[in-house]
């Protein structure tokens, strides 16, 4: 089954997303910040990365840039609580940096799981 990495500094949300994806039989690896994510990233295992953007240590924008550099085919979904609108929106920046899809928080996790399913075919 495909591998998904969840990068989210909120532990409760991180575990909730892990539960949701593991129920669908995905292999899930989690990280609490960008630095941990980059340390745990294994190109052979991870097909899709869900990353928050505002995090301590390395932020999600850095995660997107580095992961796309290491393995360009990695699908990236960015999530952020700052909404979509505005020229300074982190989600817009994430899109420009290569995120394949963005979800402004709050979102229905079932919609995120459905998107993961679609993107991984």
């Amino acid at each position: 089954m495909a591998g998904v990495m969840i990068v989210e500094d909120d532990a409760v949300l991180r575990e909730m997303l892990r539960d949701s994806l593991e129920k669908r039989k995905y292999t899930v690896i989690t990280a609490g910040d960008g630095r941990e994510a980059l340390a745990k990233f294994r190109p052979s295992v991870i097909d899709l990365v869900i990353t928050d953007l505002l995090m301590p240590e390395e932020d999600g924008l850095m995660v997107i840039m580095k992961i796309k550099e290491i393995k360009p085919s990695t699908i990236v979904i960015a999530i952020s609580g700052g909404g979509m609108a505005g020229p300074g929106s982190y989600l817009l920046m994430a899109s420009k940096l290569g995120a394949d899809h963005v979800f402004p928080k709050p979102f229905l996790p079932s919609e995120l799981v459905q998107k993961v399913k679609e993107m991984l075919g």
Binding site: L13, M16, D19, L54, I79, P106, P109
Partner: protein, 288 residues
């Protein structure tokens, strides 16, 4: 943002605002930060509520309760969205916008949800009235005002009329019957008294007139305050008109409100108009 607001005995209020450097702006920025964190929490609520629903029978009494949790999260989501709007009100780009197009867009947007006992009319006297603003923000102003108006009409039925015209330079603050005692930019005068000045450009005036429940003067004086609401809780969070106030302020515009209990409310939005000769080649125009 400097806000100067006074109320008149007849239930009118006027607002004039300046730059964006005072504590109110900092509060808006703080609201954005709080909304950001709340959005994560709301996502968690959605997630575990969905999981709980999946794990029980549809007919279980708990299913209804969980659905109510999701409904409450929906309302919280609306609130955080408005908080983010507040925090962003100074971040947009300004371009010349044909006001009539945005009015039409707003009405097109709301019509599918308007009840059959409500008549919505637009009266655009001149389609070529332009203002230099962010069109998305102008849409948000119109939408918030229109939604408030519709909520005041929906039980008994009635009408909402949106009228666009221009007000000559210097008359803007007194163009509205509701705005004769406007505060902020000039000293308030007696009803009907002319206080024209020569300064400033012509203004586009967008009037939202409804035949709804109307408001007491004490309510009119407070409708732009954050979290103030007279509606049902599920109808709004009390931030919609605060957002309107802040956006109109960013546009160097003014708002005037007049209301009579049991008869209805008139809200005028006055925004400096752009002269034809100063329009760029590609202003914002609605797609045909």
């Amino acid at each position: 943002m400097t806000t100067d607001k006074t109320k008149g005995k007849s239930g009118t209020t006027g607002i004039a605002q300046g730059n964006n450097t005072d504590p109110a702006a900092r509060i808006c920025s703080l609201a954005g930060g709080i909304a950001h964190d709340l959005n994560t929490i709301i996502t968690v609520i959605y997630g575990y509520a969905e999981m709980a629903l999946e794990s029980i029978d549809d007919n279980s009494p708990a299913a209804g309760n969980i659905s109510r949790i999701i409904g409450a999260a929906d309302r919280a989501r609306t609130l955080t969205g408005q908080m983010l709007d507040l925090s962003r009100s100074s971040q947009r780009g300004k371009i010349p916008v044909r006001v009539g197009d945005v009015i039409t867009e707003t009405i097109d947007f709301i019509m599918p949800s308007v009840r059959s006992n409500i008549q919505v009319t637009q009266n655009i006297t001149n389609p070529d009235i332009f203002v230099e603003v962010d069109p998305a923000q102008l849409f948000r102003v119109f939408l918030n005002i229109a939604v408030n108006a519709l909520q005041s009409i929906e039980e008994a039925g009635g009408s909402l009329t949106v009228t666009l015209d221009t007000v000559a330079s210097g008359k803007a603050l007194h163009a509205s019957e509701a705005g004769r005692r406007e505060a902020g930019l000039v000293e308030p005068g007696k009803p009907g008294e002319s206080q024209e000045t020569d300064a400033g450009p012509d203004h586009a005036r967008i009037r939202f007139a409804d035949t709804g429940t109307g408001m007491e003067p004490e309510t009119v004086a407070r409708i732009f305050e954050p979290f103030f609401t007279e509606g049902k809780k599920e109808q709004g969070t009390g931030l919609g008109l605060t957002v309107v106030r802040d956006i109109v302020s960013e546009m160097n515009g003014t708002l005037a409100v007049s209301s009579v209990t049991g008869k209805g409310t008139v809200i005028d939005v006055l925004i400096p108009a752009v002269k034809f000769g100063s329009l760029p080649e590609k202003p914002y125009l609605r797609e045909p």
